[in-house]
């Protein structure tokens, strides 16, 4: 319960018997006075005895024992001062004096160290309070000024600036929902229908294993279900929220299952579990599903989750145009080492950075992604490359690949965003959408095909 004592001083309680003291480091012998005392008391007793209790040290044991002493350093090393055993000759006075001096130096050192620690903790607390305060202020602005006037304010300069600084957690879900929109017109009811169908499927899959009909289909379903289960266990495992027994295990399962019924042509693709999980952290289940389906329906996400290779390649090609424009040296280094963007971009784009960046930082990327669209995903990638430009330039292929697929655990958020801000998304007067003009046209033709299959799906649904 108590902090491990790091400097424990024991002084003989009977001054009449006091002989020359000896040292015992990390001694396990129990103090002679019976029950173990806590280091604070011992130190206090010692200071009182040796007349060191200053005016700030009250002599009454009850009065202000801890209050106002929160940052007072306390020496707690397991250092025990003991007499020499009686069967040995006593120490000369000179030596005893020297030892006493050494002791005092050690205590002073320890105090200094702990004072430093305490100051560090104090600073951390102050930073935390400051951060909380700024989040609170921002939340107020979003709630009272921006959200009630969303349609008129969302494109204003002021809101865009605030948006860039990160949306407070309490309004994040609302802002994401508004920004992603609901082009697909999904209702809570439709979500419940899809979920019910998914549950029906899961139930029949469990039974079907002995059935002979529909063998191929059922094994397909099974593998999709197995894949979802496997991925859920790997989705933010450190949070313990989505794993079996966690509070949102069922919710994540439900959303992914419902989606496979909503878009059987897309089905479940790895990476989706991360996107759904981040949405669940910020939205109620049905709203999370609506945002999930609409987000995946964006051109870039559709291209990736349908694993449309030629479309993905055009995205990579567009990315490389801006890569070369912004970071020509690093671009040349990548080229020389044959490091192609698919090696790192696939992971970043599929999970919208939620797997690759620390969660809080990933959410900030999502904030601006909701504001600026797919372009921001690639801009973020260039920001990451820009931030680590120097490190990367000194690496060979394998080390770069390793570095980019496992980014450092501690990425300074402000610094990353400064680098992202410094990335210009224009190339020879062309903007992102203009560089991507060709694949977009391709996409529109693909979309028409999709709407046909969607109609078919709903038709199926009615006769089901």
């Amino acid at each position: 319960r108590m902090a491990t004592p790091s400097l424990l001083l024991y002084i003989d309680s009977n001054p009449a018997e006091q002989k020359d003291p000896g040292w015992k480091l990390f001694g396990k012998l129990p103090p002679r006075e019976g029950p173990l005392k806590d280091p604070k008391k011992i130190q206090k007793e010692y200071e009182t005895k040796s007349g060191k209790a200053g005016p700030g040290n009250p002599t009454s044991p009850r009065q202000g024992v801890r209050k106002n002493l929160d940052f007072e350093p306390l020496s707690t090393t397991a250092l025990i001062l003991e007499d020499r055993p009686a069967n040995l000759p006593a120490k000369p006075a000179e030596e005893a004096q020297k030892h006493r001096q050494q002791y005092e130096e050690m205590v002073a050192q320890a105090k200094k160290r702990e004072l430093k620690e305490a100051q560090k903790r104090k600073k951390q607390l102050e930073d935390r309070c400051k951060l909380e305060e700024s989040i609170g202020t921002a939340a107020q602005i979003w709630n009272q000024e921006i959200l009630p006037n969303w349609s008129t304010m969302c494109t204003s300069r002021r809101v865009r600036d605030l948006w860039w600084q990160g949306i407070p957690p309490s309004v994040r879900g609302k802002v994401w929902s508004l920004a992603v929109g609901n082009e697909l017109n999904i209702t809570h009811e439709l979500y419940n229908i899809c979920l019910a169908r998914a549950k029906e499927k899961w139930r029949s899959t469990a039974v079907l294993t002995t059935d002979t009909e529909d063998v191929l289909d059922s094994s397909d379903r099974e593998s999709s279900l197995e894949l979802i289960k496997l991925d859920i266990s790997r989705t933010f495992p450190q949070l313990c929220i989505f794993q079996q027994g966690g509070p949102y295990y069922d919710v994540l399962h439900s959303i992914l299952g419902a989606y496979t019924c909503y878009r059987p042509d897309v089905g479940y693709v790895q990476g989706m579990s991360f996107i759904a999980a981040v949405l669940i952290l910020n939205l109620d289940t049905a709203d999370a599903f609506i945002a999930f389906a609409n987000l995946l329906n964006k051109p870039c996400q559709m291209a990736f989750f349908r694993v449309d290779h030629s479309l993905m390649l055009t995205y990579f090609a567009a990315f490389e145009v801006f890569f070369e424009e912004n970071l020509p040296k690093l671009f040349a280094h990548f080229k020389k080492n044959n490091l192609t963007p698919d090696i790192y971009l696939i992971d970043w784009i599929f999970t919208l950075y939620s797997k690759s960046l620390p969660l809080d930082l990933a959410c900030r990327v999502w904030d601006v992604f909701c504001r600026d669209g797919e372009e921001f995903l690639f801009r973020t990638a260039l920001g990451v490359l820009r931030l680590y430009q120097d490190v990367l330039t000194s690496m060979d292929f394998i080390h770069m690949a390793q570095f980019l697929t496992r980014l450092p655990d501690l990425i300074p958020p402000e610094q990353l965003f400064q680098h992202i801000a410094a990335v210009h998304m224009t190339s020879r007067n062309r903007k992102w959408a203009q560089v991507l003009v060709h694949p977009l046209r391709l996409f529109h033709s693909a979309l028409q095909k999709d709407s046909l299959s969607l109609d078919f799906f709903f038709f199926n649904d009615i006769i089901y």
């Binding site: 801890r66 929160d70 909380e132 989040i135 027994g245 439900s254 109620d284 969660l359 809080d360 959410c363």
Partner: protein
Amino acid sequence: HNMGSDEAYNFVFKVVLIGESGVGKSNLLSRFTKNEFNHDSRTTIGVEFSTRTVQLNGFYIKAQIWDTAGLERYRAITSAYYRGAVGALLVYDITKHLTYESVERWLKELYDHADPHIVVMLVGNKTDLESERSVPTEEAKDFAEKKGLLFLETSALQSTNVEAAFNKVLEEIHKKVNSKEVVRGSINAVTLNSSRAESQEEEKKPCCKNI
């Protein structure tokens, strides 16, 4: 069904544990749900989640209790943490005055994110360390009264008042849910929401629909 219990219940109440790290939140949780105390418990990383069903005034109430230290670590989970919560235990350590001083900050965060009708209890933990007490009972009690919070002092180690604290909070939530004071759609909806994830299972159970 993976929520830990197969018993039938009338209500699911989500209760969150908040307060500075090291005040004993995880041990209060494990004492209440498993009757365990871990002397060298580690820092909670992410969310710890436990349930226990208690019987109160003839109703079975399933307490779904969230405990985390991740709140400080990941801002991204605050909203999920507080969403749907109808009760909170705001814990401080009676031997560490600083943990008591931060109570107001936790209250602010709680009211920024949670339902305004949430039932909150201020809990002074570690009464087994009475000799090291730095927060007088009366001071905390007065503060709680002023802020409209329930108040108890506990010892997860000695199992003092732990049951009483959780049960009191659950009882107060139940009172609110039943009372006419609470507008339909606020705390009631929250209660329904928090159990919606399990609605499939619940349909089979008796008296689950009479909220």
